[in-house]
Symmetry: C2
Subunit: 178 residues, 2 copies
């Protein structure tokens, strides 16, 4: 039987640039006590953006934790109090230089349920118009596009390991062709 | 253009029960310097386990970071030097009380690419025989089963927010019916 966990004490043990880490003492229904380490994250947004020929846009960037260049859908962190759609539209413009007339929800994912509060909201963006990419300082990435069908096959065969990218690609494809 | 990031210095800033956090100084191709906070994680495994009637088994447990009871495929962390399949079979036995004759790879996901080294290996387990659930101390969960088709529809409609669960369910379903 699962048990609710009641917070007895909470303290911040690390206050980094990205990572805000807390260590909480909790008590379960049966009196069992445990420590829960939790990263507090503002949440994020990712966008499957399609052009008129149904190509999907990706960004490729070096991901330091893996020492690999990963292919990902455009994404970013929510700013304080920001609506997910606003964030998604901002990241799409910054990373791809695109504005979308159609912006539909594709659901949400919790990437790391055991120790991180992050939620990522997914969107399908269509009817794009293009202006100029406008990256943050210290943000270095390449833009790449490919047919959505090819990306879907790549997601299923293991070529897109990033979780949000796999899910956004698969959900976008199944929404349009499922 | 993306840039490789070279480690200049690395120090552990928190050594918790689950979270091992490092703060690294890195240098980019153009000389730009940055700090990368990275959680070092041993990696994990999750299992879409199906019975002969194509029901899939879930565990339901309280996830403290969200204050929600989540429905997830059985999963666990790799022990030092452990093969993913061994870990998956162990977790399936511990959480569901099941042993699988057929154990197939469903690919891998990187849940949190910006600041965590975690990789999760997914498996499809079939031809199950059942013995007794054998949970770790302090592990409290309920086992639930439902038709895979229903789980697939739930994953697509937002009812299974955990990333590994969404992906394992969708990939299992598409492998058998795609």
């Amino acid at each position: 039987m699962y048990s609710i966990e009641k917070t007895i004490a909470s303290k911040q043990v690390y206050d980094g640039i990205v990572v805000k880490l807390y260590s909480d003492d909790v008590e379960l229904d049966n009196g069992y006590k445990a420590v829960r380490e939790v990263i507090h994250h503002p949440g994020g947004v990712c966008v499957a953006a399609l052009d008129e020929q149904e190509n999907i846009f990706f960004v490729q960037q070096y991901r330091y934790p893996f020492g690999e260049v990963l292919t990902e859908v455009p994404a970013g962190k929510l700013e304080y109090g920001e609506q997910p759609e606003t964030c998604g539209r901002r990241e799409l413009l910054e990373e791809i230089g695109a504005t979308a007339q159609s912006f539909e929800e594709l659901g949400c994912l919790y990437p790391t349920v055991a120790y991180d509060t992050e939620k990522i909201y997914m969107y399908l963006a269509r009817q794009l118009t293009f202006s100029k990419q406008n990256l943050d300082e210290g943000e270095f990435l390449d833009v790449k596009k490919m047919p959505l069908k090819q990306a879907y096959e790549l997601a299923l065969s293991g070529g897109l390991p990033d979780a949000k990218t796999q899910l956004a690609v698969i959900k976008a494809y199944l929404k349009l062709h499922g």
